[in-house]
Subunit: 484 residues, 2 copies
C-alpha cells in the first residue's frame, strides 16, 4: 500500500530487529494480560479483584524494567445498595529523570469492557487467539495492546543496553471503562509533583480511521448540552377534557426544537457560526489525504445517505464544524401504546458540538436569546426555562508541536507514509482532563485499525499493528530526543 | 338559585312526598351498598368476592321489586402471572313488558375505584358519612347512588301501588372501573333478545358541570390517534461520531409535529375544518345558558390562562370543535440526565378529537397527505410512516328525541330550571358501545354535582342530589309515558 520506509540506520535498525525477533514474546505477554478478566463495568467483587491483579502484573513488569512505581490508593467506591468495592490503585511510574531529556508521559488503562463468549464471540474473549494475523481477545486493542507496545519500546532499549532517549512516565488506571473514577483527582493532586516535569502527554486509546494507514489525532469537538423546559402546570391533562383550550407545552416545545436546525443540518441560531475557524488551504490538503472509503463507511454504518457526498465534506462536518442534535423529550408520553395525555411540563434536550474557536458561554447566550425570541413570538401563556447543563470547550493541538513532528517522522520511519491527520467529533474526557489540568501538549497516537471493534464482540488487534506500534513508540522516543 | 318548580299535581305529588318521607331509608340502603368494598381495579380474590356480594345484593333488591333478574356468567379473567379471577356476572333485569309503553333501559355499575383512609380520606371510605348534607363514601356518586336513585324511583311506584309508567330494564355491571371487561360482548350477544324491545338507553355515570344546576349530556367527541415514525436506522447513533452528517430523525419529527397546530390552537392540516358543523343560533343560546364559573374553573385546574376568555368559547372548543394534542415521542431519550444520543428511529404520537360531522377515515387521509407534503419538502433521506391507530367517531344525540324532551320536563318539575345542555370532550366508552351496537337513542342524565370527586379522595354525593335525583327519575318515567 505504501512506499517502503527508508532503511533505518544504526540504533533504530537494531531496535526494529530486536522487536521483530522478540515479537512472539510480546504477543505471549499480551496473551497473559488479556487472560485477566479486568472488567470494570460490572461492579462485582471478583472482577474488581481481577483488576487489582492486572495492576499488580503491570507494576511488576515496570519495576523489572527499572521503573520506580507508585501505587496511588483511591479508597473504595460506594454503591446505592450499600455495597462498596475497592477502586483499583492508579499506577504512576517513571524511568529516568535526566533534565537534558524531554519527559514524555504515557496514559493508558488496563480495565476492559465486559465480554461473554455467548454474546457472539468466535473464540473465548479472555484467551488471545490468533487467526490470519489478527489477535482476538477482550482488551487486545482497548487498551492492553497499546500499553504493552509502549512497554515493549522501553524494554527494547533496556535489552539493547541503550540509554532511553527520553525520560518516560506512565499513568495507568484500571477504571477507564467505568468513567475514570478518581483519575481527575489524581491528576489534579499530582499536578505539581509527578506531572511537574512532564513536557508531553501521549494517549493511545483511540483508533485509526483506516484499516492500514496510521493516524495522528489532534483535536476533539466540545459540547454544549441544553435543556428547554416548557411548563403549563406540574400535572398532566387528559386530552379529552382539556384538548382545545390550552397552550399545550408539547406544541410550544416542538416549535422551539423545530427552530434550531434546518433539514440540511444548518444550525439556525443567529451568530452561531461567527467564531468557527475558516478552513485553510493546509487543512483542505490534510482532509484530501485522509484514507476513508466512503462506500465502506456507509455500509458499515447502515446509513442510506449522508447529508454530504464527499469524504472532505463528511469529515469536516464531523470534526471541524459544529452540529446540533435533538436528543429527546423528558416528561412526555414515551412508551408504546396510545395514551391520550397532554403533558403538563416537558423538557426538550439538545446539544451543539463545539469547534475552534467557539466559546461555550457565548453559545449559551446565543441559544437562550434565540429560544426566547421564538417563544415570545408564540405568545404562549406557558413558562419557558432554558439551561446549559454542560459546556465543554473543543480541544485542538498545535500540530507544529515537537511531539507531533516527532510522531510524524516516526510514522514515516516505521510505515513509510504520512499519517492521516484526524480529529474526533466527540469529546474524549481523558484528553480534556490532561489538557485542562496539566496544560501541556497532548497527542493522541493510536495504534489500532478502524475495524478493531473496541467495546464489541471479537475485539482484536492485528499482530502487525501491535508489533509495528511497538517500533513506532521506540522510533518516537528517538525522534523526540533529536528534536529536543 | 332557581325559581320554585310548579307544584306537582296528582300522582307526581304523591311520588315526591313518598320519596321525601322515605329519604332516610334510601340513604340507609346507600350506606349498606357503600359498605361493600367492590373494588374492581385491584385484581385480588377478596375484592372480587366483594363485587360478587354487591351484585347479589342488587339482584335481591330488584327481585323484591318484582323484576325478573338474569345473571349473565362471564367466566374468568386470566392474568399474566397465571392467576385467574371470576368476572362478576352482569345483571340483566326487567320490570314490565307492556307493548303499549316505551321501554327504557338503565345502565349502571356497582364496582368502585380503590380507596384507603390513608390516602387522605377524612372519614372511612366504606362507611357512608353525612356532613352538612354531603354523603361521603367510595362509590356514593360513582355509581352506586345513581343506580339506587333509579331503583328508588321504581320502588316508589311499587310502594304507592301504582303501575310503572314505562317498561324498565336494567343492565348493571361490576367491572366498569376495570375497563368494562365483557360488557360489550354481552350487549352484542343480547342485541336481539334482551335489547330487542329497548327504545331508550339512559346512563347516569357522569357529572353536572355545575354544583347546583342539573345537566343533560348529548354528545361526546371522537378521537383519531396517529403515530408518525421517522427512521434512519434501527440503532441509535452517538452525537459526537455522527452529529453533522445525518438527516437526524428527531429533526424531521419535530418539524412534522410542529406543522400540525399553531400557537392559537388552530389545526393546520388542510381541509380538517371542512366538515365541522357550523354553530347555530340555538346552540349559541344553549352555551350562553350553561352555569360555569370561569374563575373557579381556572383555579381548580391550576391553569394560568386558557386560549379563550369567554365561557362560550372555552366550552365550544372543548366540546364542538376539534382539537389536536401532541402526546409524546417513543424511541428518543426520555429520561433525566444528559445523554448524547441521536435516536435512530422515533415515533411521534398525536391525536385529533373529532366532532360532528368529521369522519375518521377522511381525517386519516388529510393527516397523511399533510405529513407527506411536509416531509417531502424536507428532502430527507429518512423513511416516514404515518398510521392512524385509533379512529372513534364522535357521538351526538338528537336533543329533540322524546327522552331528551321528557328529561327536560322532569328536570323542570323537580328542579324548576332548564338543564345545562352539555357534552363531553372525551369519548365515553359505555355510550359508544350502546350507540354502536343497539343503535337506539342514548341519553346521559347525570345526578352528581361537579365537585363530587369521583375517583378521588372524599368522593361524595349530596343528599339533595340523591333524593331529588330519585324524584327526577320517577318524573322522567311519567313524562316518557305522556310523550309516548
Amino acid at each position: 500500500m505504501f512506499s517502503s520506509p527508508a532503511p533505518p540506520s544504526g540504533l533504530l535498525e537494531k531496535v526494529f530487529q530486536h522487536i521483530d525477533l522478540h515479537q512472539d514474546e510480546f504477543v505471549q505477554t499480551l496473551k497473559e494480560w488479556v487472560a485477566v478478566e479486568s472488567d470494570s463495568v460490572q461492579p462485582v467483587p471478583r472482577l474488581r479483584q481481577e483488576i487489582l491483579k492486572m495492576m499488580d502484573m503491570a507494576a511488576d513488569k515496570l519495576q523489572r524494567l527499572g521503573a520506580s512505581v507508585d501505587f496511588v490508593d483511591m479508597g473504595t467506591q460506594q454503591f446505592p445498595d450499600d455495597q462498596s468495592l475497592p477502586i483499583p490503585p492508579i499506577i504512576l511510574a517513571e524511568l529516568g529523570n535526566d533534565p537534558k531529556k524531554p519527559t514524555v508521559c504515557f496514559y493508558g488503562h488496563l480495565d476492559v469492557q465486559p465480554a461473554n463468549k455467548e454474546d457472539g464471540w468466535l473464540s473465548d474473549p479472555y484467551t488471545l487467539t490468533e487467526v490470519d494475523g489478527k489477535l482476538y481477545g477482550r482488551g487486545a486493542t482497548d487498551n492492553k495492546g497499546p500499553v504493552l507496545a509502549w512497554i515493549n519500546a522501553v524494554s527494547t532499549f533496556r535489552a539493547l543496553e541503550q540509554d532511553l532517549p527520553v525520560n518516560v512516565k506512565f499513568i495507568i488506571e484500571g477504571m477507564e471503562e467505568a468513567g475514570s473514577v478518581a483519575l481527575e483527582e489524581v491528576v489534579r493532586r499530582e499536578k505539581h509533583r509527578f506531572f511537574s516535569s512532564v513536557d508531553y502527554i501521549v494517549i493511545s486509546d483511540n483508533l485509526w480511521i483506516s484499516r492500514k494507514k496510521p493516524a495522528l489525532t489532534y483535536g476533539t469537538r466540545g459540547n454544549s448540552y441544553f435543556t428547554v423546559e416548557v411548563k403549563c402546570r406540574d400535572q398532566d391533562f387528559h386530552s379529552g377534557t382539556f384538548g382545545g383550550i390550552l397552550n399545550e407545552p408539547m406544541a410550544d416545545l416542538v416549535a422551539l426544537l423545530g427552530s434550531l436546525v434546518d433539514s440540511s443540518g444548518h444550525i439556525l441560531i443567529p451568530g452561531i457560526y461567527d467564531k468557527v475557524a475558516p478552513v485553510t488551504e493546509e487543512e483542505k490538503k490534510m482532509y484530501a489525504a485522509i484514507d476513508l472509503d466512503l462506500r465502506e463507511y456507509q455500509n458499515s454504518t447502515q446509513v442510506k445517505k449522508f447529508l454530504f457526498d464527499t469524504k472532505e465534506e463528511i469529515l469536516m462536518h464531523l470534526w471541524r464544524y459544529p452540529s446540533l442534535s435533538i436528543h429527546g423529550i423528558e416528561g412526555a408520553f414515551d412508551e408504546p401504546g396510545a395514551k391520550t395525555v397532554i403533558p403538563g411540563r416537558v423538557i426538550g434536550k439538545f446539544s451543539i458540538r463545539l469547534v475552534p474557536h467557539m466559546n461555550a458561554s457565548v453559545v449559551e447566550k446565543q441559544v437562550k436569546q434565540h429560544l426566547e425570541d421564538i417563544f415570545s413570538k408564540r405568545n404562549s401563556s406557558n413558562q419557558m426555562a432554558v439551561s446549559m447543563v454542560l459546556g465543554i470547550h473543543p480541544w485542538i493541538a498545535n500540530i507544529k508541536d515537537n511531539q507531533y513532528l516527532a510522531a510524524k517522522r516516526a510514522i514515516r520511519n516505521v510505515f513509510g507514509t504520512e499519517p492521516d491527520m484526524i480529529r474526533d467529533g466527540s469529546t474524549i474526557p481523558i484528553a480534556k482532563i490532561f489538557q485542562d489540568i496539566i496544560q501541556k501538549s497532548v497527542m493522541m497516537l493510536p495504534l489500532g485499525a478502524v475495524d478493531d471493534g473496541e467495546h464489541s464482540q471479537n475485539e482484536k488487534i492485528n499482530r502487525w499493528n501491535y508489533i509495528e506500534g511497538s517500533k513506532l513508540f521506540a522510533a518516537f522516543f528517538l525522534e523526540m530526543a533529536k528534536l529536543h
